[in-house]
Amino acid sequence: MKKVLMGDHAVSYGVTLSRAQVIAAYPITPQTFIVEELSEMCADGRLDGRFIMVESEHSAMACVIGASVAGSRVFTATSSHGLALMHEMLHWAAGARLPVVMANVNRTLGPPWNILCDHSDSMSQRDTGWIQFYVESNQEALDTIIQAYSIAERVRLPVMVNLDGFFLSHTAEVVDVPDQEQVDAVLPPYSPEFKLDVADPHTFGAICLDSNFMKMRSGIQEAMDESGKAAIEVDNDFKEIFGRHYDVVEPYRLDGAKTILVTAGTAASTSRVVVDAFREKGEPVGLLRIRMLRPFPFAQIRSLLREADRIAVIDRSISYGLSGGLATEIRAALYGTEGSHPPVFGYIAGLGGKDLVPEAISEMISRCQKGQRPAREDLWIGVKS
């Protein structure tokens, strides 16, 4: 059924259709609408789940970890400082191999105080063992939540679905809300072989000081590899039922493209308009949207980017003293290709809610077309002078 939904509410519908059983959350803008709607869904019976109010995001994550160990399908949502506060528990969820699903509505971190969008919150958590998606539309937000449970429960890793604060969270779009029966068909109930159960007692997360520890750590990496494949399988199943699907990376007009824009999230939508404009002028420009950041889709990226002359990466965050995170990772991917590889121009733009307008993206393309190699690893766009 088609509905006009804000991105936050699209996520809430995705969670309800996934039949989450335990939701624990602490409010933070721009995430709050997600759990607000879910609390009402729990209260009025649309969702047969328990909603647990907690006193912090750290507790929210700890709470869903506990519920997940007990065998429940769980959900939480957060943003920005909330995600930062969860940091320790993010490691725990992944280390304990729990299929926790979380929506992170991207928002920058203060100070200076700012509630608007950039990706510094989720980019700071790339090393925690969570699968990460960055979505571009409200429809994709809803669909990715459902896919996230499928992937998480197959590979036993937690999944973070990132959506841009305000650009998606507070913006209404037409969303096709799937039927429950269709979702049930792609997402069976969660039933782990081991769970907290007084009739079958185990300690979870128990101490492990020997080489088993290394084994469990390498197991996480193996599961990450597996999840790349699982994402494709899940998407294929999804396509069969719903007719929609999403690749882990999404190419746009890459045929013969000499200059390729790379970005994630809603910046891709604006970039498409810019790419079209360059193409109309006869310039071979294309776009690659990164939908899945973890596991990093090395193979797809290498095969799609290696033939380009120039690559312009738009990062909505920066690793201070290095460069934009996405640019760094694209460089790392290309470094592994045979022969020479195209220079990567790493643009830092759109921080703290700064609009990424077509003119700014055009400027990035023009600038990188002029230079042989970037002057620096980080090229800033839109800094007040």
Partner: protein, 579 residues
């Protein structure tokens, strides 16, 4: 290694999960602090002049163990039925639950419990040689007799009236304290084998000199003489004192007052007189010189009097009494305003010139205070401000003579009289035993500012229980573990049904109400087996006991984290350095 659970290693889970128990990991070896299950002093226990273990009987009442609850009270006070009705309940004023919602209705619960007969009746102690004379059978005298008899003494009570009870009988109307309740509790006291000489006034029917030949004397003669108003016309016919009026009424010789009766005063006697007069068919009016705020009467009594339609003239003082043919016909009054506070901290009334007015009356009762009959005391007995001079152990200026209650310098409340009786009993006993009262005081006092506990004296508490003389403050309570629960209302008769006679105004809680209200108790500083320590312990190192004070620590596994002490809702766990 043999495992309790068989594991298919191919199906082994990806995270770390144990398949055998962890009991080999004796986390107790990490500990340098250790929790101790203690009993601190609850503020109600510290506030109770009678030394009652309020927290203790709340626990028993909350468990529905009413018979044991009454036994617990009887360890300290022989008058649960009396105090459950007429006490001014300082316990409730100190209740920590006030900081969450409302104080626990301790008095109503005590009163409910008091209807149960103890399974184990108070017994006289092993007989001793010493004989003790107790002069006065009010709450002080009878409490002293009760505790001395339980300690084995041969006790004789001398009472000037035909019936025992002192002010409990003479001063308190039956609608507040039914006679069957008073009679029952007195009978229980006397069943300890106490000899009674009723109708025998010390100083007249028996000389003080004779009494002084006993091994010890407790003078608890009360304060029965009315303070005069000190205004013209007091000798008119139709003017009588509140104590005389109530005594006559309560001894079955009611005095007719006429239709319109003015009562002068603002204490409990004044309110008792007004409500009694109303029940006798008069139309009473209370005249008090200050405001309700300063009124010494128990607030609930004033409230009930107002509900019954009794008029109270605040900020009004009588100036003179008018009479016709020697009989009082009116009281001339003047209005006051409140000035600066006087020595007791209450604002002093100042007369407003030109505000004089007259209340026409058929009778007038004075109730502005009671005096000790100083003329009828042993020779050479020192007095202080109109009462017998006593020290902190109730000893007078005369050897082997103790005093207390209204006759001493104690606050003039029933429960303070009970306290004085107990104090004298223990003081007399300790003196005969040659015990050091200074040392004794430290041992028997309930908390830093508390009163004497017989239970503490007799060391009746479990030897496992660690008693700490520290009073639990509101901030020591972990309010996270309590929900807002309203106080259970007591059932009062409708005013129109009350005033038809002297039936009890408040029929008290039923069982369900008493139980529900007792469950509101925080049990400040005492374990009530809530199990929160057990549930929060990460090492399952707490073994729950069957009775408060019997929880045990599994020292092999307690790693001293302190979560139990932090979470304990009632501050009954403290962390101590490991020895």
């Amino acid at each position: 290694m043999s495992n309790k659970y068989s594991v298919d290693t191919k199906k082994a889970p990806p995270g770390s999960i144990t398949f055998s128990d962890m009991s080999w990991n004796r986390t107790g070896s990490w500990r340098y602090l250790k929790p101790a299950f203690v009993r601190k002093v609850s503020p109600c226990n510290e506030a109770c002049p009678a030394g009652n273990d309020v927290e203790g009987f709340m626990f028993l009442a909350g468990e529905g163990r009413y018979q044991e609850a009454v036994e617990k009270i009887l360890e300290e006070s022989p008058f649960p039925g009396v105090c459950g009705r007429v006490c001014y309940h300082p316990c409730e004023s100190s209740c920590n639950r006030r900081t969450l919602d409302k104080a626990v209705s301790i008095q109503e619960i005590e009163r409910f419990i008091s209807q149960y007969e103890p399974g184990c009746y108070p017994q006289p102690g092993q007989a001793r040689q010493e004989r003790v004379a107790i002069v006065g059978s009010g709450p002080a005298g009878l409490t002293c007799a009760y505790h001395l008899a339980k300690l084995g003494y041969c006790v004789t009570v001398f009472e000037k009236e035909k019936a025992l009870g002192g002010m409990l009988r003479l001063g308190i109307p039956a609608y507040r304290l039914p006679r069957r309740v008073l009679d029952g509790e007195i009978e229980r006291i006397l069943s300890l084998g106490i000899e009674v000489k009723a109708g025998c006034r010390a100083g007249q029917d028996v000389s003080w000199q004779d009494l002084m030949s006993w091994d010890a004397v407790f003078a608890a003669v009360g304060a029965h003489h009315a303070v005069p108003l000190g205004i013209p016309g007091e000798r008119l016919e139709g003017v009588l004192s509140g104590t005389a009026y109530l005594a006559a009424l309560n001894m079955g010789r009611p005095v007719g007052l006429g239709e319109r009766v003015a009562i002068i005063g603002g204490g409990n006697t004044a309110i008792d007189c007004a409500r009694s007069a109303l029940r006798q068919g008069s139309r009473p009016i209370v005249v008090y010189r200050r405001t309700r705020e300063e009124m010494p009467a128990i607030a609930a009594e004033v409230e009930e009097a107002a509900q019954e339609g009794i008029q109270i003239e605040w900020l009004t003082s009588p100036v003179s009494l008018r009479g016709t043919n020697g009989r009082v016909t009116g009281v001339e009054c003047v209005r006051n305003r409140l000035g600066e506070p006087d020595e007791d901290g209450r604002r002093r009334p100042e007369q407003i010139p030109g505000s004089e007015f007259t209340i026409d009356v058929d009778g007038l009762i004075t109730a502005v205070g009671e005096l000790v009959d100083l003329a009828n005391l042993p020779e050479n007995l020192l007095t202080n401000r109109g009462a017998i001079k006593i020290d902190s152990w109730g000893r007078t200026s005369l050897d082997r003579v103790w005093a207390g209650g209204d006759a001493g310098t104690d606050p003039r409340m029933v429960v303070h009289a009970i306290a004085a009786g107990k104090r004298a009993a223990l003081s007399i006993h300790a003196t005969f035993e040659g015990q050091d009262l200074v040392e004794l005081e430290k041992r028997v006092r309930v908390g830093p500012n508390g009163h004497i506990s017989m239970r503490r004296y007799l060391a009746a508490d479990s030897p496992h229980q660690i008693l700490i003389s520290e009073t639990v403050k509101p901030e020591d309570i972990n309010l996270e573990h309590f929900e807002l629960v309203g106080r259970v209302r007591s059932r009062a008769l409708e005013p129109k049904d009350r005033i038809t006679g002297f039936q009890e105004v408040n029929p008290g809680y039923d069982e369900q109400s008493a139980h529900q209200e007792a469950r509101r108790c925080f049990h400040c500083g005492s374990c009530d087996l809530c199990g929160i320590c057990f549930r929060f312990c990460p090492d399952l190192a707490i073994k729950m006991g069957d009775e408060p004070g019997t929880n045990r620590l599994n020292e092999f596994y307690c790693k001293g984290c302190g979560i139990c002490a932090q979470e304990c809702p009632r501050s009954a766990i403290v962390m101590e350095r490991e020895t």
